[in-house]
């Protein structure tokens, strides 16, 4: 049990630090609250789903950006938007903020950005 406690503590510390650093926000806390006996692995499920989805979106974006003949910013923008939505749903604040910046780049059609 000690180990469990220790792990738990570690977990709490870790998440606290994440919060502090701004990786996560309140939404994540809410998610945690959602987890209960009915859905014990809720958070885990959501997080893994998020990673999967993220990966797909980022791949899309990379592909779109790599195109030689004119980057399709609309598509990139759409992907980013979705990423933003997902990340905000799970509380990945930083990711969301980055998305916002990303989107403004898209609008400016700034490839470098």
């Amino acid at each position: 049990m000690d180990v469990v406690n220790q792990l738990q503590r570690q977990f709490i510390d870790y998440s606290a630090s994440l919060h502090r650093e701004g990786f996560l926000d309140d939404q994540f806390t809410q998610l945690q609250k959602l987890q209960d006996d009915n859905s014990p692995d809720f958070v885990v499920e959501v997080a893994s789903l998020f990673f999967e989805d993220c990966e797909k979106l980022i791949n899309n974006m990379a592909r779109a950006l790599e195109q030689q003949q004119g980057v399709d910013f609309k598509q990139v923008d759409a992907s980013v938007h979705q990423l933003k939505g997902s990340s905000s749903s799970i509380g990945a604040m930083r990711v969301k903020d980055v998305c916002i910046a990303f989107r403004s780049f898209c609008e400016a059609q700034n490839r470098e950005g």
Partner: protein
Amino acid sequence: MEEKLGGSNGEDGGRDRFPIGMRVLAVDDDPICLKVLENLLRKCQYHVTTTNQAITALKMLRENRNRYDLVISDVNMPDMDGFKLLELVGLEMDLPVIMLSAHSDTKLVMKGITHGACDYLLKPVRIEELKNIWQHVVRKKKPDSKDQINASNQDKSRGGTGETGPTSSSSDQKVSKKRKDQSEDEDEEGDDNGHEDPSTQKKPRVVWSVELHRKFVSAVNQLGLESEFYAVEINVSYYHPAVPKKILDLMNVEGLTRENVASHLQKYRLYLKRLSSVATQQANMVAALGSKDPSYLRMGSLDGFGDFRTLTGPGRISSASLSSYQPGGLFGRLNSSAALSLRGISSGVIQSGHSQTLNNPINGFGKIQPAVVPANQNQNGTLFQGIPTSINQLSQNKPTNHFGEFNRGNDPNAFGVATNFQDARVTVGGSSNTLPVSSGNPLLLQSNTQQTQHSGAFGNQPSSLGVTSLNQEPFDMNVRGSSNFLDHGRCSENWQSAVQLSSFPSNALSASETFSHEQLPSNNLQESISWTSSHLSSSPLDLSSSMANPANLEDSRGNISQVGLNNNVIQNIDYTTKQQWGDSRHDYNGNMNNSFSRGDSLVPASGPMMDQNNVISDKMNDVSLFSQFSGDSTYVVPHLDGEKSAFDTKSRSNDDFLFETKPQNGFNQNSFEPLENIMMSMIKSDQNNETPLMDGEFGFDAYSLGSCI
């Protein structure tokens, strides 16, 4: 994603623990969001069903609309636009819908609200917000449930679901309270309590299927959304405004309660309003033109189509449009003539077999028209002649005879109308429907356009109008268009078909039929446009009108194309009318725009034709016709584009057009969709290109459609 049916058992008979157990359907393409949402909702003790596809969601809703109390939908979805889904759900199932998006743009929120969303939430979704969403459900059901409790027996919908459950007929009693009471009683009667759970006694929601909607629209058209009807010399059989009771009677659908109709009517009104908002300016123009014969317009539409349930839509529109159109004195005359023409046309059409009602009105009109006609005779004559010829050309599949015959029979009327059409068309702007009036196509178109203006509801109508005139079929189509109209944008398509039909008495009509509702708005316009185009071959004017409709879409191109269409035949007349048209067109454009905005293509059709040549316009019409034929409104685009160019160039020879159109027509006949596309494209092209057509006034994009003919 998972689709758990959280809710059917949520009937909770007798359990009055709302919001507990509320059944929610969640739609979102983002799996993460969906999952989170689902869990949040579960936490609120709702029953949740999820899907990541809008189409699936619609299917589920349609299967058993009583199963859900609320729908939450994302805005950006790959398979269907969130707003579109929102509208569909709202109209068909009358369920409260909440939009969801990561976008906090006010414009989007506005769009959501105008489309009828109950609420707009931002991602990430917070549980507090979700805890409140049940209010929307209750709010919608409140009028009914309250009465229900009082009126209904205890066993009735006792459970929370019962109360909150969608009362089939009166779900969203936005309508007046009294209706509420009435509906309560009616609900009590239970329109079809085919509920599996008698204890809850929930009134099953009425599913507004396309068919039902079409009936509704035609009934509405018959009655006219406006309350004031002018008792013009025409014997308007349907004099009363569209009140739910009357609509209900007209529709004559079993199991439909007044409440159902009432709430649906409300939504429909909103829908039309939204559509016609664009056309407002055009409407203004029309009004400015002169409300010469509002009554005529009304009459025309009312009378002619009254009988047609389906047609009624169009019929009305034409009348309505006419009235709305009210171009100045000239128009006034025209309108009447147009109305008459419409009538005549409709009668002509009716003869075909379709518009029964049309015939009647037309006859009535005929009388009126004769007086008018003489004046227009010159014009009409040309039109008429032109029309038959054009028709022949146009009617690939179908013998133009229809048209010719029609024209003959109604000559005075038709012609009168034709000339009037210009006016009519103008008015139609919104209601591209006017198309159908084969000879009076312009009228029809006008009416169509007008319709758009009218109440938006008419928007759908336009298509029906167009159809009626030409062939029975087109009429049907138009009607359909109108029905579809409600279906959001579908109308436009239908319209187009309708429009087209009008021109091609034989062909068009059939085409329109196939024309599915789906895109009425766009279709309609196109139809009207194409219709006009088709007509135009003989009567450029008509086209203009039809075009005008599409043009409305664009923005009151002005006399655009519509006029152009007719030009061919009536050159002289056209010009004058064009002017009028131009104005009307503007109005139309507004309307059309509205209508087209859905379909967004019709407009182009009209534009090009106008000046250039009647030929072009004819082409356009054809195109539009084609589009219409295709049935699917969106197709028009392809054609239209081509057409547009034709118009733009103006130098196109009519022959070319005809050819173009013909094949299309022939082709289209089979598939309305292509026509629609054409129309759409035409409209679009017009819109985009602002073809200098005709005096440039027409600008009417939709016009291209007309020119097709």
